[in-house]
Symmetry: C3
Subunit: 347 residues, 3 copies
């Protein structure tokens, strides 16, 4: 998230760190990572796809991480590191060159308002203007950013982080090593009413939200609490910004939900499901493990495990694509067919 | 919203409270409500739809609320309560078994920043880190949650609640018994510019927002102020999370807007209108009372009162569904017709 | 944004101020601006489009700003001002009749938490409960509203405003005269993971966000930081509420993004591009300067400069409209063609 300013490394040390083989000058010094078109002599860049190979020739990078397939791509970098998976090598390299964000202090900022019955681990950090309610528990290494609202009875697991302006409604449980970005709301009441002559009567929501371990949610997401029991988000899920999940949903492990995706209430989603950008899922449906919904898909029925679906109403992606293709040809097709029928009728 | 821990009730007392007839053991004690598949011996569950009838047999619930039509559904619960509308009975039962959330105290938290000209009813609650501006009025029984920004000249009606991190821009008026969930913004400037050679010049927004009585809005909604007069949301409207309403809109009474619905500026919406998930409505259109827009509908023209429309561009729902059905058949249809025409030409 | 109460003006002075010619009583006094149907004798209204001409006859406005083409529209206002561009005249008139919002004070509110290494211009305003991090710089005339989170190393340019509850992540740069509405998040981590057997490993985001001059963003927007370098939003861009821009995007000058628009990562957008409501743009595509994407467009490929595209997948708007038109006729067309083929086969 943050950057405290890069360190500097000999490229030979970089090669050793990522387990790659060095070609060229071992003494090149790099202090940053940059994309091909913006890198300078003090940067290492990377080339992992043939699509961008032509950009290497004009790159000013001091060094490049390159996959074996592209090792001989023309370019003028002083040093090359040939490595199987340049993107994974980047993950190793980033913490060596950049300082990763960490808790600014251990303890509770004097401005925070903490209930006397809250339990906060000594090495946790509670930043300025945070509210921690009665019976809340903040585990070891947790980082509660400014303007956090940790309501009564909430549990935040070890090493988890609320970045800023996060709301955790009453009873929410957050697992370990989970990050919630600014403005995300966990445990708001679900959209449930009993409608009658006297208007829409609210269904009180007495359930809660349970978020697993190693989850990351982007900015301004909303996850509603269950009406009676829990809305559940499984371990390892990663949500982009502005994702919404309705009450009573159960989302499995390792799902990826891209920005603007919205899931209505009481829907069950398996493990490893991918919902691409602006996908919508109706309530009370089942999406099987490993299913992929392509961007803008609108799901109104069950989706079998492992299948790729798209379009609205969502159906198998290939069929949806065939439909769009046919639609593009439809106006001319209609004109030709109308003419054909007219000719036959006239003849 | 919150739960302070359930009480316990004899099932005979539950039957009396909901006006149902008891079958089985009158001494069963329940302390919670849970769905069929998660209820235990200390829970009451409910069965209101034949769709879920098969789940009763394997439910471990101590008691079940069941509609007369489903009264004889096989199952092993110790006690049954037969009642006309199990969902409405639930609304009666929930406050008996659960403590509903209420203002934690009356008065103003010492950390709040309140203008000297603000008027706050003695029994209202203003929680930590709230800002209340000049001339603002907070009525009796209102509950201003932490991190509320109540700007100058705002009026919050009796019994209304700002849950957390809510922003009310200058001059906003909130009616009685209205709840705004975390991160909702009322009265932000509308999207209005006069574009010319020197860029987009902002139209100053001197109007305001007026939200009626008994409204509920979910988390992270945005309602823009009027450019000259008011954007109005009528009594009894219920909005899900991430709903957006543009400047100058007038929304009638008892409307339901589901998550992700967005209404552009200067649109008029009647009473009792339902906008399902991710609906979009263009600016300057009229939607008649009682109209229903199905999920993902994109409205670019007026919608008559009482009609159900869908699709994009939105049209009567049945036509939209026929269109989707035809589109699904289109690729094969085209192939057959092309072959037919070829055959006839060849012959 | 806000209004402190209108002043009062002689209509002859209004005419002089907007450079229009006065017809009727020069002594009419107006103290507000209102739409045709809501204006009273103390208001000036405006008529710029023939579409609303019939409303002038029944308007109770004291005066009207009217374009030369509509100067003779029937109506009973005491005074008329004929002016070339009534909407632009309104921009001149609004600050004369209404007090525009301004910083409530110069300096730092005593409740704010400001790092000792932050540099704040003497005439800047930092409101209650704001956090300003190490090395942050707040320029002259900037207005940091309540609950602002200005992280370490952020720079806010002269005259810019954070309305309320805004988060600026580490290293964000905001230009001059830029306004960010309530709940907007700048610089959250992008949605980037390397997926493998052990789940989705986060790509640390060491880039930042750079927002230009004269930008306005609505409420609850999210702009992600770059993974390695900067996500850039150019001068003069205006975003509506709930707009999302992904990591590494470069958006040119003077673009207009309407509510609910979402742009995935690494996409390049030229100058003066218009993305209408609920548009989605895939990652790694290019949208040329001056392109317009109509409401709900879903862009999955490059869009040439100056073209208007729409639909999903987006294509030239005219083709998309022809497609929707054909789709509406498709069910009947299919029926007729099937009958035709049957008849010919039978014959």
């Amino acid at each position: 998230m943050s950057v405290k300013g890069p360190s500097a490394l000999r490229i030979a040390d970089v090669a050793a760190a990522v387990g790659g083989s060095l070609v060229g000058d071992p003494e090149t010094v790099v202090s940053g990572i940059a994309p091909l078109d913006r890198a300078g002599p003090g940067d290492v860049t990377f080339l992992a796809s043939a699509r961008y190979a032509s950009m290497l020739a004009s790159s000013n990078a001091g060094a490049v991480l390159v996959s074996p397939q592209l090792a001989d791509t023309p370019g003028t970098c002083r040093s090359r590191i040939v490595v199987d998976k340049p993107h994974e090598a980047m993950l190793t390299l980033l913490p060596l060159l950049y300082t990763m964000p960490d808790r600014p202090f251990a303890g509770v900022h004097p401005s925070a308002v903490v209930a006397s019955t809250a339990v906060i681990a000594p090495d946790a950090c509670v930043e300025a203007f945070s509210v921690v309610g009665a019976g809340a528990r903040i585990a070891a290494g947790a980082w509660i950013g400014p303007f956090s609202h940790v309501s009564d009875g909430v549990a935040v697991g070890p090493g988890s982080r609320l970045v800023s302006h996060v709301t955790l409604y009453e009873g929410t449980r957050i697992g370990a090593r989970t990050t919630l970005h600014a403005g995300t709301r966990i445990g708001s009441d679900g959209f449930g009413y009993v409608s009658g002559k006297d208007g829409h009567r609210k269904v009180p929501h007495v359930g809660r939200c349970e978020i697993g371990d190693d989850v990351e949610m982007g900015a301004n997401c909303t996850i509603d609490r269950g009406s009676l029991d829990a809305t559940e988000i499984g371990d390892g899920c990663k949500f982009d910004n502005m994702v919404h999940v309705g009450h009573n949903c159960r989302v499995g492990r390792l799902c990826l939900f891209t920005a603007g995706t919205m899931v209505a209430g009481s829907t069950n989603i398996g493990d490893g499901v991918v919902l691409a950008g602006q996908v919508g899922v109706a309530g009370h449906v089942n999406i099987g493990s490993g299913a992929i919904l392509t961007a803008r898909a609108g799901v109104i029925s069950d989706v079998p495990a492992g299948e790729t679906w798209g379009g609205f109403p969502a159906r198998p992606h290939k069929l949806a694509m065939r439909g769009y293709g046919a639609l593009a040809k439809l106006p001319d097709f209609m004109k030709r067919v109308e003419q054909f029928m007219k000719d036959r009728r006239d003849s």
